[in-house]
Every structure is written in structure tokens, then in C-alpha cells.
């Protein structure tokens, strides 16, 4: 019985140590995202079927209406603040949070509107976000940012 107890405790302790080591050695997405990012690319990765050019055009016309495309420089500040700088120099400060397992960026506008982006890539120099558009405008929008 004592031997069994030792085996169980050892296995659990090993798992706990492995987890602790992994979590300490890996970069935390919440810290990694802090700083200024400049939007460098905006593409639609997926279309419903071949010959969806009309939809692409529709998306092109709609994209200026989407809140996510309003800013060119995104500054992620500590305490969940995000400063969006538009090309005309106008600024807006909103809220950000990383959720899930560190794979979803949630942006909360001052009017309560929320947007969720998939954090496809978060490296020292590049940030790639994917935004799933709604059913009227099918497709997966990919935004690429470079660190300033």
C-alpha cells in the first residue's frame, strides 16, 4: 500500500513539475503582446467556393465599415488598455484581454461592442490575427502586424 502511495504521489508530482517548468519557460502571450504593432497586411484567407470574386468585392467595400480596420497602429498597454491610432492621427483607447488558452484576443469597445480574434501567431516581431466574419460576409480575414 505504501509503495502504491509513493508511486501515485511521484507521478502526480512529476506531472506538476513538468507543467510548472513548461509554463515558466514558455513566453506568456499577455506579456508578449505588449507594445506597438503596425498593421501591414489584410487578406481574406478563405472563400466559399471558386468564383467568389463578387463576395471579395463586397468585402472590399464593407471593410472600411468594420471597426477592426479603422486603426493602423495598435498599442497594447498594461492593465488591459489598447490605443488605436488611425491614419488621420485620431486616437481611441479601448480594452483588450486574452482569453481561452491564450489563443483568443478579445477587444471591448467603449460602447460595449466586443470583437474576438484568433491569435494565430504571436512572436517577438510579428502578430497575426484571424477574424471570422459573420454569415453575411463569409470568409476569414487575416490581419498581419509588425512590431514597431
Amino acid at each position: 500500500m505504501k509503495r502504491l502511495l509513493v508511486v501515485y504521489i511521484s507521478v502526480f508530482a512529476f506531472i506538476l513539475m513538468g507543467f510548472t517548468w513548461l509554463i515558466r519557460s514558455a513566453p506568456n502571450p499577455e506579456r508578449l503582446i505588449l507594445g506597438q504593432w503596425k498593421e501591414t497586411g489584410w487578406v481574406y484567407e478563405r472563400l466559399n467556393k471558386v468564383g467568389d470574386e463578387e463576395k471579395v468585392n463586397m468585402q472590399e467595400t464593407l471593410r472600411d465599415g468594420l471597426v477592426l480596420h479603422k486603426a493602423e497602429i495598435w498599442s497594447f498597454l498594461p492593465n488591459g488598455r489598447l490605443r488605436l491610432q488611425k491614419s488621420d492621427g485620431e486616437e481611441e483607447t479601448i480594452r483588450w484581454a486574452i482569453k481561452g488558452r491564450g489563443n483568443i484576443l478579445e477587444i471591448k469597445y467603449n460602447d460595449g461592442h466586443k470583437e474576438q480574434y484568433d491569435l494565430s501567431q504571436l512572436a517577438d516581431d510579428q502578430l497575426v490575427l484571424n477574424f471570422e466574419l459573420d454569415t453575411q460576409v463569409k470568409g476569414l480575414a487575416k490581419l498581419t502586424f509588425d512590431r514597431l
Binding site: P27, P29, K99
Partner: protein, 266 residues
Amino acid sequence: MLRKFSNSRTQGDNIKLGTLTAFSAGMVNVVSLLLFLSFSSNVTGYYAILAAEFVKGNWYQTAIVFAWIFLFFMGGFVANFMVIHFNKRNKYFAHSLPISLEILCLLVVGFYGQFYYRETLAETELLLAFLLFAMGLQNGLTASISNFAVKTTHLTGTTTDLGILFSMFTKREFRSNPVLKKRAWLLSAITAAYITGAIVAGIAYFHIGFKLFYVISAFLVVVIGHDAYKIRVVRYYWNSSRKKCKQVQAQDARERLVGAPVEDLE
């Protein structure tokens, strides 16, 4: 619902336990998805995500997903540990302890979320960890005491079993089999309860947010309370019938003493 174990359980016991716990699991899963953008009552998808994150070299995400899977595993471990080790002392206590622990986890999430949650990643992951542990406890308990007949936190196996059962019902010999019919009713009830819970949570979340965890806890209190009430009622009837029996015996003895012939008394 909780007093009986394994094969001594009736279909009614399993349906009551299955529907109530599936309803609460459906609620927990949807509310965690809306609040934390991650599921908390099923881990099948997390195994695939674990592999994907590992391949991509996202060690932080790999560690987090691994921890969540491990906590679901620990929930099942702890629930069954309690059942098999405390069962001989008090069956009801052994079976209600994992549910009590689950309620505690849900209350912690509800209370912290309502008053302290600042939407940081660490908080999100920790609260999700509590929920995954709670769901592991629930699934472990229901599966353990029902001889693996009732599993309520995810519907993969349930949907597969229902598919198999309904294909079997295309043959008359299986349609008239009472065991298979009972199984189909149980699984259908669990599925319906899970979906209902999910829809109710989806609507209620926009009105009460984190307070929804108190509502889910209240449902689980019903699971524990139902049997506690039954035990009290049974005990009351048992005691009163014993009392009556003793009174009748005493009266009988008195009558025998008074009316008995002299030689009998000697």
C-alpha cells in the same frame, strides 16, 4: 439518485441523476464558452488541440491544455476515490461528497467572477481549471455509481450509443428488447437535458453573467437534497413504524400477562 450503487439502481434513479447533472453540465459548458471562450465539460477536443499546439511549438498553450485535461482526469480520480473508500461507512455521504466539492468549485468561480475578475489570462485559465475539475468530478461520480451507464458532461459517447441503438431498432427483435429501450430513453433524456441546459444558460448569461454559477449550484443542491430528503422521510417512517411495532409488542405482552392462565405465568 445518489444512495444506490451500480446494479441496484433503477431506470428512474439513472434518469433523474442523468437529466439533472446533464442540465447543469450543459449550462456550465455554454457559460464557460461565453465567459472564457473555452469549453469546460468536454476534453476530447482538447486532446486534438494539445497535439496541434505541441506540433506548432506553442509550449505555453500546450502546458495549459495539458493542465486542463489533467484536472478533468483528477476530477474523475477524486470522485471515484471518494466513492470506493467511503462507500462502506455511508453510501449517501460517499456519493454526495463529489457533488458537494463540485458545488464548491462552481461557487468559487461564481463568487470570484462576480467580484474580482479583471479578465486577465491567468484568472481565465484558473477559473477554467476549476470548471474542468468540477466537470471531471461530476462525470466521475455519475459514471462510477451508475456502473458507467450515466455520463453527463459530454455527448460524444451518448450520440454514438444513440446512433447504434436507433439502428438496432430497425429490427423487431431489438425494438421489443426492454433493456435496449430503457437505454435509449436514458440517453435521449440526457441529451435533451444537456441541450436544454445549454440553451437556458445561453439566454440567462446575458442577464445575470457570473451569477449563473449560483443557479447551477442550486440545481446540484437539488441532486443532493433530493436524497437527503428521501433519507429523512424513510428514516421517519422507519422510526415511527418501529415505534408502533414496539408499542404493539408491549401491548401484546401486557395483554398476555393480564389474560394469561396461571400455569402460563408460572
